[in-house]
Symmetry: C2
Subunit: 226 residues, 2 copies
């Protein structure tokens, strides 16, 4: 019985890794759609979000069934409960990628992001995707050092977010209000997406160490790879 | 043992009600601070968010302890797991109220919201507060009819959100980009806050009926009032 149980627990872990992969991919594509004003790509990102939502709901059901049938305690219980939270983070990250794609779709065929902000938004998109890839890796490896390192990328994200605001607040801003609104929202979506990725990293640290804040790097397996 | 257990479950319910009260109050005050450019009030909202976060973390610990000690199944298990989700909704709602207050603080002594949007933002603030009050009541009463009615207020919120965007996109917008950015973010915070309130309502419906979507009104007590 314990074997079936750990198999179920592994499958929850695998679902989270897959959700992180899908969310990261969605944000990469959404960024391309936004910067290239690619309507078709935007549309695909928007449609693909349903898959992340499905995985999220299936994971919730799986976790509740697992709690009911196996009645886990201590570490295993925390793993299941924390998985539910990580799933919510990843589901929300998927929404945020969809939101970015929606801006692209709304403004098509116009480019929502003006040329002088392309590079900044591109970097935000790449950081977001990299952070989510790190979240997926940390879910697999439970490498708390890697999880802590995510904060450096997140700091860079915050810096870029501030850069965007400096541009917007600059009196020489010449792209009008509509573009300012799009850029404001897009920047916020990237920043929140990164927060959710970092949150997954933090939750893995919590699972490994039982600590909520900065912690020692000790990565035992909780969702062992198959 | 079952008695102590149901007492713990009640106390989780009472914490959620209190969190909803605090979040609603925070959004009411944040709106006043925003519309009156009241720095002191904004500061108090920002500081008070710590209390909601504390309740959230305490509730999470309580719920996990409850799962470990009492090993609930079926309905009780769903109640505990759903409570964790509602707590996350309410914690996030508190953050969004704090975000509104932060805009007021950033722009002080200037009013972040121009006069011709005062009424719309005021209505968004009032709707947000009312929706959260409804969420708190639904948590107490398990009145699924009232929970479903929240959607009407939420529709109105979406309508106001669109009104704000129409103003922003209007070529006659004369308040500049900085104000456009503030209004864009504030409007989004209200809309997300309302979503979290509605989400709490939906989760109560789910607890009562076991259904995720539109459901029959049948309100048995899950968190009985003391």
């Amino acid at each position: 019985m314990r074997d079936a149980y750990h198999e179920e627990l592994d499958s929850v872990g695998a679902d989270l890794v897959e959700m992180a992969r899908l969310a990261g991919s969605a944000m990469g594509r959404a960024t391309a759609a936004l910067l290239d004003a690619d309507l078709q790509l935007a549309q695909r990102v928007i449609s693909a979000d349903a898959r992340i939502n499905e995985l999220h709901h299936a994971l919730e059901e799986k976790a509740i069934t697992l709690l009911a049938r196996q009645q886990p305690v201590a570490g295993d219980l925390r793993t299941v409960v924390t998985s539910l939270r990580m799933s919510a983070d990843l589901e929300r990250a998927g929404d945020l990628a969809r939101n970015v794609a929606t801006i692209a779709r709304l403004r098509h065929p116009v480019q929502a992001v003006p040329g002088d902000l392309h590079r900044t938004i591109l970097e935000m998109g790449q950081l977001a995707q990299r952070l989510m890839a790190q979240a997926g890796e940390v879910l697999l490896t439970h490498d708390t050092v890697a999880a802590l390192q995510m904060e450096k990328d997140d700091d860079r994200m915050d810096e870029l977010h501030r850069t965007i605001f400096q541009h917007l607040m600059d009196e020489r801003w010449k792209h009008g209000v509509e573009t300012a609104v799009d850029v404001t929202l897009a920047a916020r979506y990237y920043e929140r997406f990164a927060d959710h990725a970092v949150s997954v990293g933090h939750r893995v640290i919590y699972l490994v160490t039982g600590e909520h804040a900065d912690v020692q790097p000790t990565p035992p397996p909780i969702f062992p790879t198959a």
